[in-house]
Symmetry: none
Subunit: 217 residues, 2 copies
Amino acid sequence: MVVDDEKDILQIVKYNLELHGYEVETAENGVDAITKLGIFKPDLVLLDIMMPHKDGIQTCIEIRANPDFDDTIIIFLTALSDEKSEIRGLELGADDYIAKPIKPKLLVSRVHSAFRRITEDDSSVIIFPDLEINREKFLVVHKGKEVSLPRKEFELFSLLASKPGRVFLRNEILDKVWGNEVIVGDRTIDVHVRKIRQKLNADFISTVKGVGYKFQN
Amino acid sequence: MVVDDEKDILQIVKYNLELHGYEVETAENGVDAITKLGIFKPDLVLLDIMMPHKDGIQTCIEIRANPDFDDTIIIFLTALSDEKSEIRGLELGADDYIAKPIKPKLLVSRVHSAFRRITEDDSSVIIFPDLEINREKFLVVHKGKEVSLPRKEFELFSLLASKPGRVFLRNEILDKVWGNEVIVGDRTIDVHVRKIRQKLNADFISTVKGVGYKFQN
DNA sequence: ATACAACTTAACAATTTCGTAATCCCCAAA
DNA sequence: TTTGGGGATTACGAAATTGTTAAGTTGTAT
């Protein structure tokens, strides 16, 4: 949902976001926004600060006060002059701000990142067809069968599975599974990968030579 | 790197950024800046517009003309009166601007976001019709078909594709794909190009005789 | 103490990726 | 037409990276 009192801006923003596959609703002031928020339950609100009938700051406070919208992303649209507001906005629970005049590429890129951020939830259970990784129980369920992996193997596997398809560099893996201080040989990773492949006899992990490993379902 | 002819400002900016863990170098005019830029290779340049010995605008143009600094963020420091310059600055490839008088909190907050932007938006996916290059997954998708290229080939290809149309000199390619230390023969590049063309049987890479290669969609 | 699982490492095998040389082609200038 | 300067191809050995196995290490429950 885009909230701004200038129709030109609503139109520009709406057009550009729709071009990238987003569904966009608009509102022309804070009061309007609050009303429509309940109806459309948007994932993200682009909120102008200077508006008649309840400004952006006030609107933001009200949105944040309602637990129903805890997961709603708020991004401020700020005119050059509202310097203080920008900072204040971030303190009030906004997630980002975009300076006017709006540059379409930047707008889209910011919105993308905002969504990316919330999608990267480290929910404790990662689910795929035939495979479920439960971080809390330290358990992998593969085709209905529980497989329990030792700590390092589990951490390595769940790291890879946390972003299917994405290649993790060996260094990255060492950092995240072993930590920065510990120094282990290079073959260590391979050996763990081997054991995982062996225990879930299905090749979820694929090698990218010279780069690292990735999870591939 | 902070560039400004007023020492007071250099000091204020330096102090505040160092307080937040940034490493700060200073320069007092455009000429000085260009020189030091080559030495320190800063991630971000805060550039005053009104300066003797080459103003900020001119300096910005020169920085942007050098591919070595493609990834360098430029933020202008503008006196309130240079409104027109601000807009012009953004058109010249600056990433943001901060109005003087400088307010420390705002300064730091802008610098933070600028860094956040490059780390996040370093859009790991380059998209063209029928072609998608996913740096994160180390994967090229051509007409819906996944093609996985070996490391050097991938890096070479994604380098070229990162700036469609721009010609990369052979030297430049060697630098960016192989690194400065490694020395390999000239024919090596050709061979890799060949393999890429072969694997994506479509000619995305075009040769510029006596100069280098470029990506052409 | 003993047994055992988890983790590392070493050593060697198996692959894949790289770099180069040799040769072929193309095109433009002479 | 010739000729010469790139560039394109090809094939192959060297180098780099992984896979695999087995043998230590360490820590912990029995």
